[in-house]
């Protein structure tokens, strides 16, 4: 330790200058300042110019370390000590030449300072970039909000127009306008989504969820869309995947629906496949690969890198419903990043595309379904599943009180369209439907059901409900192959009896 203090002084010769009361040099042993004797020390070097503050007749020692001086263009780095004495009016200046030592110190300091400065500058540059980015995103967000107002107004005006007398041509054109406006809305929502992700306005909510159920849900939606387009949809979950995992189910769903929708959009025939593969499984964590394959148009290998940038679009004139812009994929990429996952894509033109999203999850502590839930599920499986379409507010309460919860499981919807959608998604045992429904009314709906090709529900028992108790109405219902017509208010005995016999009849028919 002491050596580091001693070393610089080894081999150095102390130089002495003595000055008198007036500050004139009276003795000089320093080779630095030749011919100094008799001169005011102030004239030797600017260093000495402002040392008037040094008290005389006091014993004191002042150290000035590491003073750079140039003499005949040579740089020296010296320590200067000035000593004053109580009993002497003369003072002593001691000069210590430590040039070599300080030169080494300078090298170290140079490197250290440069490193720190560079990192500070980098940090600041990043900060400025982030500020810019934040500004841009704020702008996009408020712009997107603003633009929604006129878009919604156009929508409303279109609806108003639709209800007026229009020629076929006008109606067609109006439809085009409405569709374009819908697309615009879609784009704006996507942009908003991206800017939310980028600005961190978006949250990740982690909770334990049933992965099989989550995939099942996506399966239901996607299958429906595929059926409409004449495509097959296959969905598989690796059986070694635990039942419950911790993660953000909402974001996962967003990723997978975006990718499957994309696949459906760019595929005109063949199969869409969603697979969940266990890639890595540790004690508490698991990595899952979500693979979405399609047999669609494919993407040019050269363009694969670009597809995650916003607004990329696969050019293909054959695809008529080319509503999409590439923002969906950009969102997926952002989401995958935010969830600390990866996304890769593989594709061959005209053969198809395959996206793989790898995401990490924690394996939930609890892996068993609650007894209660199991019991409820069992009940649910055994219960008659009845779809009710009755938009009138009291219907739900009335029917819930009529039907025993254990034996019957009721699902309520409010429109004819919703009836069809629900039937596609889930198997029901019977439908209770009000004749008066918004958009597609009860009669149209039952007609649709009977004409549909879907073996799962085309023969489902349908009970029509009306407040009119009108024979003519009843005749029409039966003509359209509803199974029964009852009038409101609902009566427990009538309704349960009807339902039970209809379901039994159908079951008998099948066996």
């Amino acid at each position: 330790m002491l050596n580091s203090y001693i070393n610089p002084h080894v081999n150095t010769i102390n130089q002495f200058i003595v000055i008198n009361e007036k500050g004139n040099v009276i003795e000089n042993e320093s080779p630095f300042f030749k011919d100094a004797i008799g001169k005011p020390i102030k004239t030797l070097h600017p260093f000495f110019e402002n040392i008037d503050f040094i008290p005389k007749k006091e014993t004191q020692e002042l150290n000035f370390k590491c003073v750079n001086i140039f003499l005949d263009d040579v740089r020296y780095v010296i320590d200067i000590t000035i000593k004053t004495f109580e009993k002497d009016t003369n003072s002593l200046v001691i000069i210590d030449d430590l040039t070599k030592h300080y030169n080494n110190l300078q090298k170290v300091t140079q490197i250290r300072n440069e490193t720190i400065i560079n990192s500070q500058l980098l940090k600041y540059k990043n900060h400025i970039l982030q500020e810019k980015e934040r500004f841009k995103n704020r702008f996009i967000r408020s712009f997107s909000h603003e633009i929604r107002i006129p878009i919604n107004s156009i929508n409303r005006m279109c609806l108003l127009l639709k209800n007026t007398n229009l020629s076929q041509n006008q109606r067609y054109n109006l439809n085009v306008v409405t569709n374009i406006n819908d697309q615009l809305k879609h784009i704006i929502n996507d942009i908003l989504d991206i800017s939310r992700i980028e600005t961190g306005y978006f949250e990740i909510n982690t909770s334990s969820f049933n992965i099989y159920e989550a995939i099942d849900h996506i399966n239901a939606i996607s299958k429906q869309k595929c059926i409409e387009k004449g495509l097959n949809f296959i969905c598989k979950v690796d059986e070694s995947c635990p039942l419950f995992i911790d993660g953000d189910q909402y974001r996962l769903t967003q990723i997978l629906t975006n990718l499957t929708e994309n696949a459906i959009k760019f595929t005109t025939s063949g199969t869409i496949k969603l697979e969940v593969i266990v890639k890595n499984k540790a004690k508490n964590t698991i990595e899952l690969d979500f693979k979405i394959n399609d047999t669609g148009v494919g993407i040019d290998k050269k363009k694969l890198n670009a597809i995650f940038n916003g607004f990329y679009q696969i050019k293909n004139t054959k695809i008529k419903d080319n509503k999409g812009i590439g923002l969906g994929l950009s969102i997926v990429k952002h989401l995958a990043d935010a969830l600390k996952g990866t996304i890769t894509v593989d594709s061959e033109l005209k053969k198809g595309t395959s996206f793989t999203v790898g995401l990490p999850f924690a394996i939930s502590e609890k892996q068993t379904l609650d007894e209660k839930i199991i019991e409820e599920r069992k009940q649910l499986e055994n219960a008659f599943k009845i779809l009710v379409a009755d938009p009138f507010s009291k219907a739900e309460i009335e029917l819930e009180s009529i039907f025993n919860q254990k034996k019957y499981n009721l699902n309520f919807v409010e429109s004819g369209d919703a009836v069809i959608e629900s039937l596609y998604r889930k198997k029901y045992d019977a439908v209770i439907m009000n004749l008066k429904l918004p958009k597609m009314d009860g009669l149209d709906t039952v007609r649709y059901i009977r004409l549909s090709e879907d073996a799962d529900f085309k023969d489902i028992p349908v009970i029509m409900v009306s407040t009119n108790n009108d024979e003519e109405e009843e005749r029409k219902c039966i003509q359209n192959r509803a199974n029964a017509y009852i009038s409101k208010p609902y009566e427990k005995k009538v309704l349960t009896k009807k339902i039970n016999t209809l379901i039994k009849e159908k079951a008998d028919l099948l066996t």
Partner: protein
């Protein structure tokens, strides 16, 4: 004898203390950073025609550090004025400006202190204005040793005030 005043340049490393002095004394500038260790002492006389006087400024170029409390206090003895320099592109060099000034005042209460934001050539007027908002009331000059902007003004005004 000519009036001689000791002016000390102080501030974080790399803010441009040596460059400001070189611009003032030699009217040159270099983009290379050569760290100062210890202290360099320069001298330049400034004519003040209004008073018919010359002032010698003995300018002490101190080594920069992260914390000015680490400055060797002997360097500060006999100082007539401080120029506190920071780098407008590095917040780390001006974040502690308030407490740094406080420290210098504790040291010698009556000594004037000029506060200088250097490297103004690297920022736009708007960026300078934004920065100004944070430390506004304190700053005396925005200088550039590179372009020479406000460098002479800084030293000559100070010289005038010191007589």
């Amino acid at each position: 004898m000519k009036i001689s005043k000791k002016v000390v340049l102080i501030g974080h490393f790399g803010v441009g203390k040596s460059s400001l002095i070189r611009r003032f004394v030699e009217n040159t500038f270099s983009d290379d950073y050569k760290v100062t260790i210890g202290v360099h002492i320069f001298k330049k006389s400034v004519a003040i025609p209004e008073e018919g006087k010359d002032v010698s400024l003995v300018i002490w170029d101190l080594e920069g550090n992260d914390d000015i409390r680490d400055t060797r206090t002997s360097y500060l003895l006999g100082t007539s004025a401080y120029i506190y320099v920071f780098d407008v592109t590095r917040p780390a060099t001006y974040n502690t400006i308030g407490s740094d000034i406080e420290y210098l005042k504790q040291h010698s209460d009556k000594t004037p202190i000029r506060i200088v934001g250097n490297k103004e050539d690297l920022l736009t007027k708007e960026q300078i204005k934004d920065l100004n908002g944070e430390i506004e009331p304190l700053i005396d000059f925005f200088t550039s040793a590179k372009t020479g902007n406000k460098v002479d003004e800084l030293f000559s005004k100070l010289a005038m005030e010191l007589i």
